[in-house]
Amino acid sequence: MDILSATIFSPLVGVLLLLLLPGNKTFLLRAVSLIASLLPLAGSIFLLSFFDQKNPNFQFTENLPWISSFNINYHIGLDGISLPLFLLTTVLTLLSIIISFNIEKRLKEYFISFLILETGLLGVFSSLDLFLFYIFWELVLIPMFLIIGIWGGPNKVYASFKFILYTAIGSVLMLIGIIWTFILTHTFDIVQLSACQEIPLNVAKWIWLLFFVGFAVKVPIFPFHTWLPDAHTEAPTAGSVILAGILLKMGTYGLLRVNFSIFPETTMDNSLFLAILGLVNILYGALTAMAQKDLKKMIAYSSVSHMGFVLLGLSALNVIGINGAVFQMIGHGIITGSLFMLVGVIYDRAHHRQISGFGGIANVVPNYTAVMGISALASIGLPGLAGFVGELLCFLGAFSSFSKITAAACFGILIGAIYTLNMYKDVFFGHLNEKYAGLSDLSIREWIALIPLMVFILLFGLWPQLILNITDPAVQVFLKFF
């Protein structure tokens, strides 16, 4: 087994060990899960250090026959688009495990779910075979369903079923698309299928649509987004972090990896449609976020808005837009991850998330206020922080393709600032709500989980080339088709 496979499946080692442990040895369970999530992180860092940034092709590839009667192969590999997402997954999962140490209910099963989830995510981002992709895609679904349904909030059952039904419908459509593709081409191999000529255009547009809806549910693209606020609100903190930080990116990654690379011509025909959907996501998500009273719901809708930027960048079909979209995926993953963690921190203490229920707590919890401030500013695209670069590149790219739509989308950054600063003012500024005069500031464990995110927010904001150097060669490959 090569290093990439080893990294993908390394969390399962932890799962095996956890299965052997009794459920009441809390310390041991935490230690094992922590180590088990350090393994894939180490693996991904190793992959990063051996990744040839100049090489636009897939690297660390493994291609083994799996079900040869259907030409299904275990084909995996990473390129400059999947590697950053791969790293995002290993980092965010580790931090989610750290932030989850205070979970009391069924700790063992909780960590098992997270580690299986990680393997699924890593698999999705490295699969080069549609069938394998689908298997990993579905593997992500189940642990997430359990995480929301078991460790969620008061309305968890409704939320988890809504999540699974929505995504299952998406998956079914995607499966039909995969089988249809196979019938026409007799292969599941994404690399061989790239810019595939064997599928006639009038069929391709239907297959494109099937895949599109499957991915749109995940992104989520309006009007398929209503599972997201419920799932986020009910999920435990780490669940929301992974959900918003990584799961949503499966959708846009899938669009890029499947729709864009296999059906470039259909994608070109539909680029206006993508841009309009991006615009709708940006404005509708932001406006709806503005009307929310619950912190988590507000951030959830802000994710709808920020994923709209990704879509807009993708629709540009040019080098700046697509690089910007990938950058925005990473930036949003880090920023929203930290926002959800921070909401979790305050929820653990106050046991509610009503924005109007706080007030003036900046003096009580100065560190928390500062970290939330940085994350909030990053989220509204302040220069110097990671959110800005993605937005700027998406705008620059999309404007040359769709000027009017992009100009309208620019108002999203204003609405984003409105709800974010309103929230910040209501929670932290003004008269102190005496109920929270004794609130405790960030604990060391919370600091450990948050500091890496703060460092990345600053690092990528100041030095975006760190990511763009990796993504650019791979993006150039896509551009050959457009």
């Binding site: 809504k162 039904l165 929505y166 309006f222 009007p223 987004h225 209503t226 509708y284 406006l287 709806t288 503005m290 009307a291 929310q292 080098v319 700046i320 690089n323 003036g360 900046a362 003096n363 500013l377 302040l382 220069p383 110097g384 800005f388 670069v389 700027l392 590149l393 705008f395 620059l396 404007f399 040359s400 000027s403 992009t406 100009a407 620019c410 108002f411 950054i413 204003l414 609405i415 600032a417 409105i418 600063l421 309103n422 003012k425 932290f428 500024f429 003004g430 008269h431 102190l432 975006p464 080339q465 763009l468 650019d472 993006v475 150039q476 551009l479």
Partner: protein
């Protein structure tokens, strides 16, 4: 040169980083670090400026930032007389204000945070001044906006301060949306964000007029927001909730001038378009007059000075729009000194009076002689009387407007000069002359506050004397260079004197009772006191509209989109339970249905 140049913004940045990471608990150390940082900037800026005065040149430097495919978005800096002048102004005023703050902010619990934010602001503003491309300019632009937000809301426990900070950020960001779209349009048309390359493209006629006009207007939207021009001026008076030294530094001398600086720096985009220049001129001229009228009826010492800032920035815009590149930049410099001075004097008064209301003052001339004399010097400079700095720069502006031949704008400018002198000396006479109030605690401010004031007062006097050298260094070839016109000068000076005299008659001599005046002109007075009800107008239209749309989209989300989803779910469940009725489990029912089905099929075929 490049190392020195980079060190100018980086010194305060380092101060910010050290303060926010390590010394937040140590107030004195943080103060020292911050002042040290800006002092280094000032020394280097002076050195750079002197070099440029000796041998005028314009140099550009380039650093990679983003490079994807063939597209580059670098960081670029430019050092020419204009940016060197701004470097000196920003670092000098910032240093004065940081020293002044030692006295003014004495005992404040958040002192280290205060100095951290000021250092961040100095860094951002110096970066803005040095920017030579749109991306970097926009970034610095947003960062100074952030610092303004943080410092207006410095006393965040006050709900009014928190609200004012937010308002400032959002109103300016509305303008920035226009700025951003303008940048996107430039990039689409020229494929570059570098000022020099865009200038080249325009001079080569690669971009032509309707597009240039649109770009210029979009960019000017950003300037309208930052420089608090009508109709986006509403944030600046509220920004007075911040500490007074902040009002002096950010909301008078430097950041609000960024809009003027931007327009001047990008003058090559405005010049080819007559329409764009006209818009700049009319918005500037209107704002100058409009804000001056509001200032007449305000009773808050800081708000009077704030409206005067809006008005003076309007003056600079008017100059730019009339083709007066040099006068606008000249006024930008002199205004920075005298307006910072006026704010520091106001701060000194507030510091000892513990009130912002001018009517709580009276007879402070004897108790605070230094403050009073400094205020007179700043006031005379603002009113535009010789030999003070404001006279020279304002005179050039009025000349330019006169030379441009637009009578309406010229009339507005002269009227503004009268009003400016009037409200400035209304403030002076009410606060510093007349009877003392019974409160006897009033005393002159400490040396650490008066020293920066004295320095700025000297600058408010002498900085106007370098007019010819200034226009020799800072000019553009195509801009208007009007000849001196003695009549115009006489007119503007007599307007200023008339304003001062009227204020003296009403508020010092009290020949005419100001209360009676207010009663006689009650409708106008109430219009002015309420700032033409513009805040209320926005509150009941734009703000309401956005809130309404937001609620509508939430409603759509819950009842329409999600309603449809839940409806589908219920429908499926309903069909499920309906079908379940069929599954009775009784064999005879199934057999009956089978036969019935068979009969129906036979009947059909």
């Amino acid at each position: 040169m490049i190392n020195q140049l980079l060190a100018v913004p980086l010194a305060p940045f380092l101060a910010f980083a050290i303060i926010s990471l390590f010394t937040l608990r140590y107030k004195r150390l943080s103060t020292f670090i911050s002042i040290l940082g800006i002092a280094i900037s000032l020394i280097l800026s002076l050195n750079i400026a002197i070099n440029l005065i000796i041998s005028p040149s314009s140099e550009e430097y380039f650093m990679n930032w983003i490079k994807i495919g063939a597209v580059q978005i670098p960081l670029e800096i430019i050092i020419d007389p204009l940016s060197a002048m701004m470097l000196v102004v920003v670092s000098l005023v910032s240093l004065c204000i940081q020293i002044y703050s030692i006295g003014y902010m004495h005992g404040d619990t958040g002192l280290a945070r205060y100095y951290g934010f000021i250092s961040l602001f100095s860094f951002s503003m110096l970066t803005l001044v040095l920017s030579n491309n749109f991306a970097q300019m926009y970034m610095a632009w947003e960062l100074v906006g952030l610092c303004s937000y943080l410092l207006i809301g410095f006393w965040y426990h006050k709900p009014s301060a928190a609200a004012a900070g937010k308002k400032a950020f959002l109103v300016t960001r509305l303008g920035d949306v226009g700025f951003l779209i303008g940048i996107l349009l430039i990039f689409k048309l020229t494929g570059t964000l570098s000022f020099s390359e865009v200038a080249h493209a325009i001079s080569q006629k690669e971009v032509t007029c309707p597009a240039i006009t649109i770009i210029a207007i979009l960019i000017f939207c950003g300037a309208i927001g930052k420089s608090a021009q009508f109709p986006l001026h509403v944030w600046l008076p509220d920004a007075m909730e911040g500490p007074t030294p902040i009002s002096a530094l950010i909301h008078a001398a430097t950041m609000v001038a960024a809009g003027v600086y931007l327009t001047a720096r990008l003058f090559f985009i405005f010049l080819p378009s007559i329409e764009a220049l006209a818009i700049v001129a009319y918005i500037g001229g209107f704002t100058a007059l409009f804000a001056a009228t509001i200032a007449l009826a305000q009773n808050d010492i800081k708000k009077i000075v704030a409206y005067s800032t809006i008005s003076q920035l309007g003056f600079m815009m008017l100059a730019l729009g009339s083709g007066g590149y040099t006068p606008a930049c000249f006024h930008l410099m002199t205004h920075a000194f005298f307006k910072a001075l006026l704010f520091l004097c106001a701060g000194s008064v507030i510091h000892s009076l513990h009130s912002n209301n001018i009517w709580d003052g009276g007879g402070l001339l004897r108790k605070m002689p230094i403050t009073a004399i400094c205020f007179i010097m700043g006031g005379l400079s603002l009113a535009g009387l010789p030999p003070f700095a404001g006279f020279f720069s304002k005179d050039e502006i009025v000349l330019t407007v006169f030379a441009s031949g637009n009578t309406l704008l010229f009339f507005m400018a002269t009227l503004t000069i009268f009003l400016t002198a009037f409200y400035t000396f209304r403030l002076f006479f009410v606060v510093f002359t007349g009877e003392e109030k019974k409160d006897t605690h009033v005393h002159e401010s400490p040396l650490v506050m008066t020293l920066p004031m004295i320095l700025l007062a000297i600058l408010s006097l002498i900085s106007g004397w370098c007019g010819p050298q200034f226009s020799h260094l800072i000019h553009t070839e195509d801009a208007l260079h009007p000849e001196g016109e003695p009549l115009v000068m006489v007119l503007s000076v007599s307007m200023a004197l008339a304003g001062i005299f009227s204020a003296w008659v009403v508020y010092a001599k009290k020949e005419v009772s100001s209360e009676k005046l207010c009663q006689q002109f009650a409708p106008i007075n109430s219009l002015l006191t309420n700032k033409y009800w513009i805040d209320e107008l926005y509150g009941s239209t734009v703000v309401r509209l956005v809130q309404f749309v937001s609620l509508v989209s939430k409603w759509i989300d819950i009842y329409l989109v999600d309603g449809l989803v839940n409806g589908t779910g219920r429908l499926t469940a309903f069909f499920g339970s309906a079908l379940r009725l069929v599954q009775t489990g009784y064999l005879q029912n199934y057999i009956f249905l089978m036969i019935a089905g068979l009969v129906i099929l036979l009947l059909i075929f």
